[in-house]
C-alpha cells in the first residue's frame, strides 16, 4: 500500500519541486564560484587544505538554503491537497490516515536527500574547476552534507506539521523563512538550540553531538506531528 501511495503522490508532484531540488544547491555553489573567481588568491592564502576550506565555505550558507528549500517543498506538497480540497477524497479512501502522511513525508525526505547529494556533486565540480586536483574529498563532503541534513530534520517535521495541518500556508512559510534567516545568526546561540545544530560548529566533518540532537528532536517531532495530524478532524 505504501508503494501505491507513493506512486500516487509522485504523479501529483509539481515540476517546481524538482526545479527547486536542483536550483537551490546549484545557486549556492554558483555564488561561491563567483566568490572564488573574484578573490581566488586571497581565499587560497587563508587555509592550506584548499578542498577542506572550499567545503567550509560552501557550507556556511547551506543550512539556510536547505531550510528554505524544505520549507517551500513541504508547502508545495501540502498545497497540492489544500488548494483542491482533496484531503476529503484522500481520507475517504480505504487507507490508514497515517500512511497518507508518511507517503508524502517519504518523498519529501528523499527530495531533500537528492538536493544534498547534488550539493556535494556541485561542490566537487567547483573544486575541480578551480584546479584543486583530483584528490576528491569525498568523505568530508559527504559527512558535511549528511550531518547538515540530519541536523535540519527538526525543521522538516516542524514545517510538515505547519504546512499539512493548516490550510493557510502563510504561517508555515513565514516560520520557515524566519528560521532559515535566523540560522545565519545562530553562531553564538547555546548548543541546545536547534538553529545552531546545522551550522556544525565543531567542524563540518565532526557532527556529534549536534546531529544526535537533531536526530532525537526530529524523531520526537515526527511522532508528535503524525499523532496530531492523524487524530484531528479532516478540514473541509
Amino acid at each position: 500500500m505504501m508503494r501505491a501511495l507513493i506512486q500516487s503522490d509522485l504523479m501529483k508532484v509539481k515540476k517546481m519541486v524538482w526545479l527547486m531540488m536542483v536550483a537551490f544547491p546549484a545557486g549556492l555553489i554558483g555564488l561561491q564560484a563567483v566568490n572564488y573567481s573574484l578573490r581566488l588568491d586571497h581565499l587560497l592564502g587563508l587555509h592550506d587544505d584548499y578542498w577542506y576550506f572550499l567545503l567550509e565555505n560552501v557550507h556556511i550558507f547551506w543550512p539556510t538554503v536547505l531550510v528554505l528549500t524544505l520549507t517551500l517543498i513541504v508547502s508545495l506538497f501540502a498545497s497540492v491537497e489544500h488548494e483542491t480540497h482533496t484531503w476529503t477524497t484522500l481520507f475517504s479512501l480505504p487507507v490508514n490516515n497515517g500512511k497518507i502522511y508518511l507517503s508524502k513525508l517519504a518523498i519529501i525526505l528523499t527530495v531533500l536527500i537528492g538536493s544534498s547529494v547534488l550539493f556535494v556533486i556541485f561542490s566537487l565540480i567547483l573544486g575541480l574547476a578551480l584546479g584543486f586536483g583530483s584528490d576528491l574529498p569525498l568523505m568530508a563532503a559527504s559527512q558535511m552534507s549528511l550531518y547538515t541534513y540530519i541536523a535540519v530534520l527538526p525543521f522538516v517535521f516542524l514545517q510538515f506539521w505547519l504546512s499539512m495541518g493548516f490550510t493557510n500556508q502563510g504561517v508555515a512559510l513565514t516560520t520557515g523563512i524566519a528560521n532559515a534567516v535566523f540560522i545565519m545568526y545562530a553562531v553564538d546561540l547555546p548548543t541546545w538550540l536547534p538553529w545552531r545544530w546545522p551550522l556544525l560548529m565543531d567542524g563540518i566533518t565532526s557532527g556529534a553531538p549536534d546531529i544526535f540532537y537533531g536526530l532525537g528532536t526530529g524523531a520526537a517531532l515526527m511522532v508528535i506531528t503524525l499523532i496530531h495530524l492523524t487524530r484531528k478532524d479532516v478540514a473541509a
Binding site: S8, L93, V234
Partner: protein
C-alpha cells in the same frame, strides 16, 4: 425495527462545534438497494453528517454502523466498499482527467480498465486527456462522480452531486444515479437542498433541519402529504357540514369555508348539487395543491438558512 439489519445506520449521532450542536441526535437508516435522499436547507448539517459517515470527523456522541460493522473499529474495511463525493469535487488541476483518476486507482488497486469504464459512465471519455483546469464546472462534477464510482462501491455517498450542472447535465446525472441500484447493485445516499432533485430519484427521504432529522420515510409518504384539498365557501356552513357528513365526507371549517380531501370530478359535482338542493348559497369552490416544495418548507419552517 430493532432486529432489521440496515446497510447503514446511525444512532443518536451528534456533533458539537464550539458548544453548538450542528448535528443533534441523528438516527438515519439506509436499506440495501435504496436511493436515500438526504434533504435539508443549507447549513442544516448534511455535510457534517456525511463527514461523520465517512469517519472524516469524529462524532461527539452516537455511532455509525455500515455493512453491520462499527465505523470506529473497522473504518478501512468499510471504506473499501464506499465511494464518495463530498462537497465540491476535488481534483488536481495540473493533471489530466485520466491521471486524476489514476492517482486514486493506484490506491484503490482496481484494474486500469476501470478508469475507461467510469469515464464512459459519466460521459467524459472525450475530455479524459485534457488537463482538469480546462474543465467546466459540470465536467469537474462528472469527474468527481467518476472518481466515486472507481472502486466499484456497494454504497455511494454523494453530497450535492448536481451542484453546478446545467439542466441537461442534471437530468443526465440523475438518470445515471437512478440506474445504479438495479444495474450495479449499489445503494446510494444522495444529499441535496433541492427537493425536486431528490423527488425524482429517491426511494426514501430523510429531511434534516437544524441538525435534527424531522422526517424519514418512503418518498410516497411524503408525496401523500402533498395531497390536494378542496375548499367550499358558503353562507350556512353548519347545514353544509351536516349535509356532507351524511354523505360520508368529513370536513374542517375555517370561517365559512369547509375544507375536505380532494374528490374525483363526479363527486365534486354531486357535492355541489347536494349543497345547492339543501338551499345553501355556494360562493366559491376551490382546490388547493400543496407541492412537495411547500411541504418541505413547512417541515423546515422557521429554520434560517445559512
Amino acid at each position: 425495527m430493532g432486529n432489521q439489519t440496515y446497510l447503514l445506520e446511525t444512532n443518536d449521532l451528534t456533533k458539537t462545534y464550539k458548544g453548538t450542536k450542528v448535528v443533534n441526535g441523528l438516527s438515519l437508516q439506509l436499506e440495501e438497494g435504496e436511493i436515500y435522499g438526504f434533504l435539508g436547507p443549507n447549513g442544516a448539517g448534511k455535510t457534517t453528517t456525511i463527514r461523520m459517515l465517512l469517519g472524516l470527523i469524529k462524532p461527539a456522541k452516537g455511532n455509525v454502523t455500515v455493512f453491520g460493522k462499527d465505523l470506529t473499529k473497522e473504518r478501512i474495511a468499510i471504506l473499501k466498499q464506499i465511494g464518495s463525493l463530498v462537497e465540491s469535487p476535488s481534483y488536481y488541476p495540473h493533471l489530466t482527467g485520466k491521471d486524476n483518476l489514476e492517482t486514486l486507482r493506484k490506491i484503490l488497486q482496481v484494474p486500469k480498465s476501470r478508469i475507461t469504464e467510469v469515464l464512459e459512465m459519466v460521459r467524459l471519455t472525450k475530455m479524459a486527456d485534457r488537463k482538469v483546469k480546462e474543465y467546466s464546472l459540470g465536467m469537474k462534477q462528472r469527474l468527481g462522480l467518476a472518481a466515486s464510482l472507481l472502486g466499484r462501491p456497494k454504497l455511494l455517498i454523494l453530497d450535492e452531486p448536481t451542484n453546478g450542472l446545467d439542466p441537461a447535465g442534471m437530468i443526465e446525472i440523475r438518470e445515471l444515479i437512478r440506474q445504479l441500484p438495479a444495474k450495479y447493485g449499489m445503494t446510494v445516499l444522495l444529499s441535496s437542498h433541492l427537493l425536486t432533485e431528490i423527488d425524482q430519484v429517491a426511494t426514501k427521504v430523510g429531511i434534516i433541519a437544524k441538525g435534527e432529522m424531522i422526517f424519514q420515510d418512503r418518498i410516497e409518504v411524503l408525496r401523500e402529504k402533498a395531497s390536494r384539498k378542496l375548499h367550499v365557501q358558503m353562507d350556512d356552513w353548519e347545514t353544509g357540514q351536516k349535509v356532507l357528513s351524511s354523505h360520508g365526507i368529513e370536513t374542517a371549517r375555517h370561517d365559512n369555508w369547509l375544507t375536505m380531501p380532494n374528490q374525483p370530478d363526479g363527486k365534486i359535482a354531486e357535492i355541489v348539487k347536494e349543497l345547492v338542493y339543501s338551499g345553501l348559497n355556494i360562493y366559491r369552490v376551490s382546490e388547493e395543491i400543496a407541492s412537495l416544495e411547500d411541504i418541505f418548507l413547512n417541515l423546515t419552517k422557521g429554520e434560517e438558512t445559512l
